[in-house]
Symmetry: C2
Subunit: 203 residues, 2 copies
């Protein structure tokens, strides 16, 4: 399809599509002549990824470019590739050598504690903030959250595209993280409302 | 305690404590003389709430002031008070008259669909973003997330301070939402990593 058709199909304005091409966020189409090129399904798919990461996840174009490169050229070891891509998504937490709160939680949940995992710093930061506010998370709450979250993650991982398509798996991890986290938080708030309505008699 | 002691105990610099007093974010202490006042446990607690909402939840001081007022003077109907307080927390989603995607999800999960609930707009926005990116959420995924989240919310609501202490309940809802959502997301990412490590053979 031509650039104008690609713009219509994706909902991205033609000027923005051209900008993404110049910035290397979108791969060039097949050249048809000096001033026209042919675009295909892979371009449409890429535009969706870029839009999702900029609009839904609020990433800068520089961050999106990093992400697109991680999806396009995943590292050979898929586990490392997945970790690197998700680590490039916000929130960014300050790195340290050790994360004592996160370590205690991982030990409690029987999960590997690896300070190199970006989400470990994120967890440490979140636990420290709760503690500072006088709302330290009890072991009982850790157990409740840990088992519910494990169930969620089992669903996600069992639906991950097969390991022989590393680009697809990395894209699933990045987009899933960026797009499904907001869905989960909204569902959680609505579940609170639903249960509070049952518990609290209305006026 | 004196202002300097309050500052030390809370970790908030004295100049910031004075600023919060002038802005009405912190209630005045008992006047001891023309230039000294006595502060107590309730001041320490309030400083923790303000710090948590500004630093951990990233709220502006104007938003924190709204929140503090909602905690201090909860509406008579506790269910409405809880909803108003949590609705004042980010993310803010554009309001509309109807939210078709969120409505379908609520119907599927057997929960009340009330377009006045702020989290309904948030859910609609998150579902639309996923759809636009070509990652429409399947009914199977809705069921998986919905039941895991319900379990989480049951734990939260069963630990809510009793309904005869509305300020405490509103504070729990606001701080719990602001502080535990980041914990949950970090735990989710770590559960993904844990399960991916089991599924993917390392090099």
């Amino acid at each position: 399809m031509r650039l104008s058709e690609l713009a219509t199909a994706s909902g991205v304005p033609p000027a923005t599509v051209k900008y993404y091409l110049r910035q290397g966020l979108l791969h060039p189409g097949a050249q048809l002549g000096p001033r026209s090129a042919d675009y295909e399904e892979s371009h449409l798919r890429r535009l969706r990824v870029v839009q999702a990461l900029t609009e839904a996840a609020g990433l800068s174009l520089a961050q999106v470019k990093t992400m697109v490169e991680l999806i396009e050229h995943p590292q050979e070891d898929l586990f490392t590739a997945l970790g690197a891509a998700v680590a490039a998504l916000p929130p960014m937490a300050p790195r340290a050598e050790d994360y004592p709160r996160a370590r205690a939680v991982m030990e409690r949940l029987g999960q590997l504690y690896d300070p190199e995992y970006a989400a470990v710093a994120q967890l440490e930061h979140a636990l420290a903030a709760a503690e500072q506010a006088g709302l330290q998370i009890s072991e009982e709450r850790i157990d409740a959250y840990g088992s519910a979250v494990r169930r969620l993650a089992e669903y996600d991982i069992s639906n991950m595209p097969e390991a022989d398509a590393p680009s697809a798996a990395v894209e699933y991890a990045v987009l899933g993280t960026a797009l499904y986290e907001p869905v989960l938080l909204a569902l959680w708030r609505l579940a609170h409302q639903h249960l509070a309505a049952q518990r609290l008699p209305g006026d």
